[in-house]
């Protein structure tokens, strides 16, 4: 299914805004079910696009459980395992987790799960900030190709990909629209 809004033939839409909404709604229900409510939960979105997804999940949890669930955002720049390998260091963004995470159930939120290295870094970052009771992981898409023994607890959509494909999650809060597309890396396109 080719995407008419884009000039490239290598772009395929895999989720539209309704698909994203339904996936997040299901994840919200699964979070409540697994944790027997939402009392002790803190949602932590991994910057950049995990942050608005965490906000949306908080709203959904409020609709289901009528409890305000705190939302934080986490920059993993200081915890990456590839520091010092690029021409210039990665830009950092401020993390902001408004509550003490010690003793809480943290639900990490990211848009795409790939190698698992981002999640590894996020877990390390959280453990430097406190001692959560447990850490769970919610992702909108799981595209496979794990390099570390890490799995998600809540998955919006499993999307088998090849390594030279690129998953682009576009969110209203940042990109002005909700959709997920898959595209071939430039070098392989044609």
């Amino acid at each position: 299914m080719s995407d008419s809004q884009n000039d490239s033939d290598d772009v395929v839409q895999v989720m539209d805004s309704d698909d994203i909404r339904r996936a997040l709604t299901r994840i919200a229900h699964e979070v409540v079910e697994k944790n027997h409510g939402a009392q002790n939960i803190v949602l932590v979105g991994i910057l950049t696009r995990g942050a608005p997804l965490a906000e949306r999940l908080s709203k959904l949890l409020f609709q289901i459980e009528n409890i305000p669930v705190p939302v934080g955002k986490l920059d993993i720049g200081l915890y990456r395992d590839d520091y010092g390998t690029s021409r210039s260091p990665i830009s950092l963004a401020p993390s902001d987790i408004p509550v003490d995470i010690t003793g809480k159930t943290i639900v990490l939120v990211d848009e795409v799960m790939f190698t698992g290295r981002t999640v590894r870094a996020a877990i390390a970052a959280l453990l430097d900030m406190g001692r959560p009771a447990n850490i769970q992981l919610a992702v909108l898409l799981d595209r496979g190709h794990r390099e570390l023994p890490i799995r998600a607890d809540f998955v919006g959509k499993n999307l088998p990909t090849s390594r030279n494909e690129y998953i682009q999650v576009r969110l209203k809060e940042i990109d002005g629209e909700d959709r997920v597309v898959i595209r071939k890396a430039k070098g392989d396109a044609q």
Partner: protein, 311 residues
């Protein structure tokens, strides 16, 4: 960035990057456990040919909070005392696999010499003669930006012994690059001879120099200057150029007062101003804290460049 030698030769883009990064890293200083693993396995060596407590301690803590190794060379007890040349000292530290050397030297331009000499080690200038002290400039700018919300269009008065001040020079270049307006205020004997070639306005009258200033950066009066006849007396200096609640009235109503320390209370700055009495906004301790943050940012920026990727 491979080195941080001067703010004069650092681009506005890099200055903004360092300030933004410092602002982010400052959060670590508020944690109960102030440590991130980012610079694990990297080594910073401080090489100070001039006395310093706060700058050296600040760099050491910055390195340690980022998990780098921090080693201090006490020059007086080192092989320098046995006659080793600066060149050989630097080459030795490079061979010891220092990723970064933080150096202070009484001779202007020494860090440039070091940066040209060393191919595998980054150099941070922690003060060279009367030339520059870039991390002090950055921490002053971070403090101004944090409290005033901007640097662009800010009227900054630098008051005191400017001729001998590397802090003033780093402030001048950094601030003007970021769009602030800088004035130098002091007695003629303490104004730099090349002031007309600097992007600043110069005043030898405190009332005129402070008029409407948003920030008053008070420099330490280096009392050893008096012996050379540049000043008649400390009392007269204090009366004409000291920053007191009275003289601060010339500045903008919510003027921010900074001082790089160590302070001579009662000489260039009154105790009431230093302690922020009468609603005066002094941020001298905040500057010290911000100093760690900009040094963390500097180490992050310099050590994060792979040594193969740049010559």
């Amino acid at each position: 960035m491979r080195h941080l030698l001067t703010l004069r030769e650092t681009s506005a883009i890099d200055i903004r990057y360092l300030l933004d990064t410092a602002e982010t890293l400052k959060e670590i200083l508020a944690r109960p456990v102030k440590k991130v693993p980012t610079l694990r396995g990297r080594a910073m060596i401080t090489l100070f040919y001039e006395n310093s407590t706060r700058t050296r301690t600040s760099f050491e803590l910055a390195a340690k909070f980022m998990s780098a190794e921090a080693i201090n060379i006490a020059v007086a007890q080192s092989s320098v005392a046995k006659g080793e040349s600066l060149k050989d000292s630097l080459l030795t530290l490079q061979a010891l696999k220092a990723d970064c050397i933080v150096m202070r030297h009484s001779v202007s331009g020494t860090p440039e010499f070091a940066a040209e000499l060393l191919k595998h080690t980054s150099i941070v200038n922690a003060g060279d003669g009367r030339h520059e002290h870039p991390t002090q400039g950055l921490l002053d700018m971070l403090t101004m930006r944090e409290i005033k919300g901007r640097l662009e269009g800010l009227e900054v008065a630098i008051v005191g012994d400017i001729a001998h001040s590397r802090v003033a020079r780093s402030n001048i270049w950094g601030l003007t690059k970021m769009g602030a307006k800088v004035r130098l205020v002091g007695p003629r004997t303490l104004l730099p001879p090349d002031a007309d070639r600097l992007p600043v306005k110069v005043y030898d009258n405190l009332a005129k120099g402070l008029d409407g200033a948003d920030v008053v950066n008070v420099l330490r009066l280096q009392t050893e200057r008096m012996e050379r006849g540049l000043l008649p007396s400390l009392r007269e200096y204090s009366r004409l150029f000291g920053i007191s609640p009275q003289s601060l009235k010339y500045a903008a109503p919510d003027a921010l007062v900074l001082h790089p320390g160590p302070m001579n209370r009662g000489v260039e700055i009154s105790a009431d101003v230093a302690d922020g009495k009468f609603g005066i906004h002094a941020a001298i301790e905040e500057q010290v804290t911000n100093g760690i943050a900009v040094r963390m940012a500097t180490l992050y920026a310099l050590m994060g460049v792979s040594s193969d990727s740049e010559g």
